[in-house]
């Protein structure tokens, strides 16, 4: 295949056959109980050096409690898919967990920009659309997928995409490699103990990433009975056999919100965005993550029931979220 142009980024690429082999040997087909604590899930399933992806953003239905647990366990050398992300990149880099970032949207706040400028984390350039498309290719079991964009830009130059001549039209077309993360974190509205999961509202690539990833950790607001899924199969976002761990974490998206359940806590989010240097970062990490045992303790000591009640109260819109 004649390559007209090649982006220079390093890519984390898994041969589709190697991914299949992983699925064959590691993914249980039968329903087994996968309920565990966040400590157990992250300890068992996230390894140093893993490629990490997650669904939605710090503001809405992001897997924030799981991300905090990764930081708490001081995982190292993670490669992060910064798709549509806001402050996760900053926290994961500031805590020394992440060393590489595939950039879709790297988040606001000045901290992350600064550490990138200082060369303390390696970044590779993609876009929200191309990372989502790479995930789709990963879920379709194909090594790459063509795109009509990235073309003509420095984004392409600093990505891992290739440009070839399309054999059907003769035009140049961009090919992006499949993405098969090692770990996918997703926070959902409802799950059962086997891992069946429901999201209400939109998602970035929940099913794509669950299918494309070697290890999938679901945290949920609510545990429901497995029979519920079989009554309304159209509502199933992720079937159990893609999932490796289920963690029951009410308010697990805090300080972000979960549609129909609770609103985001902008005050806390501003606190994270206000971090400008390592010292402030360490203070935040110490206070909200390292010194806190787990998510329940975090809610109890660092948020408080009164605040949570207020966030629930603010989530007045319930339409469509059931």
């Amino acid at each position: 295949m004649d390559v007209l142009f090649e982006g220079q980024a390093e890519i984390r690429f898994t041969h589709p056959d190697d991914f299949r082999e992983w699925v064959r040997t590691h993914k249980k087909r039968e329903p087994v109980e996968k309920l565990m604590t966040e400590r157990e899930a992250i300890a068992r399933l996230v390894s140093d050096g893993d490629y990490l992806a997650y669904d939605f953003s710090s503001l809405t239905r992001g897997p924030q409690a799981l991300v905090r647990e990764i930081i708490r366990q001081r995982k190292r050398d993670l490669w992060v898919c910064a798709e549509f992300t806001l402050h996760e990149s900053a926290l994961l880099v500031g805590s020394g967990c992440a060393s590489r970032i595939d950039v879709g949207f790297m988040g606001y706040g000045s901290y992350i920009g600064k550490v990138v400028a200082e060369g303390r984390v390696r970044v590779f350039e993609w876009t929200n659309g191309s990372l989502a498309f790479r995930m789709l290719a990963g879920a379709r079991g194909i090594p790459f997928i063509p795109m009509r964009n990235l073309l003509g830009t420095d984004t392409l130059r600093h990505s891992g995409a290739k440009v070839v001549q399309d054999p059907f039209t003769g035009d140049p077309i961009c090919l992006v490699p499949a993405l098969n993360p090692d770990v996918f974190l997703v926070h959902v509205h409802q799950a059962d103990v086997f891992g069946n999961a429901r999201i209400f509202g939109t998602n970035l690539f929940a099913l794509e990433a669950a299918m494309a990833s070697k290890k999938v950790i679901v945290s949920c607001e609510e545990i429901i009975d497995p029979s519920e899924f079989r009554k309304e199969p159209s509502k199933t976002t992720i079937p159990y056999f893609l999932v490796d761990a289920v963690v029951h974490l009410p308010f697990g998206a805090y300080p972000g919100g979960v549609q129909g359940r609770y609103d985001l806590d902008l005050e806390h989010i501003d606190k994270v965005n206000a971090i400008t240097n390592d010292q402030e970062m360490q203070v935040y990490l110490q206070e909200y993550i390292y010194d806190i045992e787990d998510h329940t303790t975090f809610l109890e000591k660092k948020v408080g029931w009164k605040r949570l009640q207020e966030l629930i109260r603010r989530a007045a819109i319930k339409e469509g979220y059931h």
């Binding site: 659309g129 009509r148 964009n149 690539f205 902008l266």
Partner: protein
């Protein structure tokens, strides 16, 4: 007629909102474009179909605008369809999205956009910013892209520090040659002083209008390149009372989005 006071942000929001057509679709980027779409929907384009990259198709977003939100319940209220990112961009690739709206750190004569870094090298940028997000998709795939940025001369440069999202690249035919969809490209640049278009033949930026009371020389001063001047240069009306009322009372009563440099112009 008196004097009207507003911020540069308010001006840009109002100017951009007036550009949108009713009964069309628009791909709405994060931040200011969301507020533009809300204002337009309330005042000019009740049948505008908003599309968000995270999969909300046709929402009727509620006011007040929740700062920072993209995907929250009031943002996606009463959508036609909730789906995911790959589907959202599919609407753009297949030609269903008429307008796209994005911000920029820098633009050049051909409407190429930088939202990635300023200064230094790629590995060691002087300052690093969030990157494309969905901007590259929007600028590549929507029929007409509107770029919104503050009118600071240093933002209008001869050579971008980084080409994040494609304008007309290096001139006529370059997008098509690169493989981008035919007939697309930047359509307007909305700034805090001017409205800029692109010449149909040369694809170069063309000054279409300036804010009432602002001189063309003020607009051009310090820009790294000189745009063409449209034969019929328009005067841009400052924000209307009704526009400001909606922005300040309905859309952003906290004033956190619409704050900015204070400006004043004769009514």
């Amino acid at each position: 007629m008196g004097v009207v006071e507003f911020t540069d942000t308010e001006l840009m929001i109002c100017s951009a909102a007036r550009l949108l057509e009713d009964r069309k679709t628009v791909f709405v980027g994060w931040g200011m474009p969301q507020v533009v779409a809300m204002l337009a929907e309330r005042l000019y384009t009740p049948n505008l179909v908003q599309v968000f990259e995270f999969g909300a198709i046709g929402p009727r977003s509620l006011t007040p605008f929740v700062r920072g939100t993209m995907g929250g319940p009031s943002n996606v209220y009463q959508s036609l369809q909730w789906i995911n990112m790959n589907w959202a961009f599919s609407y753009a690739v297949t030609g269903y999205i008429d307008y796209g709206m994005i911000g920029a750190l820098q633009v050049d004569l051909y409407g190429n956009v930088n939202s990635t870094l300023l200064g230094g090298t790629y590995e060691r940028p002087g300052r690093r910013f969030p990157g494309s997000g969905g901007g590259n998709e929007v600028a590549s795939l929507c029929w007409k892209t509107i770029i919104v940025l503050k009118h600071e001369p240093r933002r209008f440069v001869k050579l971008l520090d980084f080409v994040t999202s494609p304008g007309y690249l290096d001139g006529p035919g370059a997008r098509e040659k690169a493989g981008l969809p035919r007939g697309t490209g930047p359509w307007r640049v909305v700034t805090s002083k001017a409205l800029i278009g692109f010449d149909e033949v040369t694809k170069k930026m063309t000054l279409l209008g300036v804010l009432r009371g602002v001189k063309v020389a003020d607009v051009l001063e310090g820009m790294g390149f000189e745009p063409l001047l449209d034969a019929k240069l328009q005067e841009i009306e400052p924000p209307l009372d009704e526009e400001l009322r909606i922005l300040r009372q309905e859309v952003d009563p906290s004033g956190l989005i619409i704050r900015g440099e204070r400006m004043r112009t004769e009514r």
